[in-house]
Symmetry: C2
Subunit: 148 residues, 2 copies
């Protein structure tokens, strides 16, 4: 089920199908995790720097994960130690359609564990205007196929 380290190549680039995100989904996430006024109240959000209700950045990040899961075997890894340099570049508004594009920019066999290696993916969430909403360099740990 998981992606294998051998199948990942530096330069490998791909894009998911797009998905429309509704206001209801945004409100549900914000109520649970990020109850700031510009994520919860469409009227008051007009006065915010975003100019209107928008998704929690953590919601956008979580949707980025799900979009990848739905499209790519190599989104399934052994886990991730973390990542660098997440940028929320544009607000995600209700009704926007987002997709994820991702390019492998590094790949390193583990020095301590012979059965695995890591890959770094320059990952972007892009909206229907081709604006980058979120970018991050995500890291996954992958098992080598020939070591089980």
């Amino acid at each position: 089920m998981n992606g294998a380290f051998e199948d990942i190549e530096i330069g490998l680039s791909r894009e998911t199908p797009s998905r429309t995100v509704t206001e209801d989904e945004m409100l549900a996430f914000s109520r649970e995790f990020d109850p700031q006024v510009f994520h919860l109240d469409p009227e008051a959000a007009k006065e915010s720097v975003f100019g209107g209700l928008c998704a929690s950045g953590w919601h956008t990040a979580s949707l980025m994960m799900r979009l990848q899961m739905d499209s790519w075997k190599s989104a399934y890894s052994m886990g991730s130690p973390g990542f660098d340099d997440l940028k929320w570049l544009k607000p995600l508004f209700p009704g926007d359609s987002i997709r994820v594009r991702s390019t492998c920019i590094d790949k390193t066999p583990s020095r301590s564990k012979a059965d695995r290696g890591s890959a770094v993916w320059k990952t972007e969430v892009v909206n229907q205007k081709d604006e980058v909403v979120l970018s991050a360099n995500l890291i996954g740990i992958y098992r080598k196929r020939d070591t089980g």
Copy 2:
């Protein structure tokens, strides 16, 4: 309602109350955003590197946001441009209790906008064994009080 730039001091350090995270919460989040086997299937997760079912790292990050919202006025900002160096250091298991501790490590008035400034918070999610589960340097933009 929001925190003001003037009230934030470098070195300011604080900790939220703790909150127990249930397996049901973890499963609900994972089904929606991160359907990897070690986040969904308690039996199969025993074979993973985590040794058992654990929360999606995006769930842990989202809970970090909510814990701060529940405790600190300055968790409410004008928004965030992103952050650096998120590390998932330990798995978050069902029944674990987590709290957030946070220290302001930098504070900078905006060069282009006189009414605001940014602050960087070294932020850690800590479990009931005092292990750091997640760490990140979060950034918030704050309005200056005297400019409205």
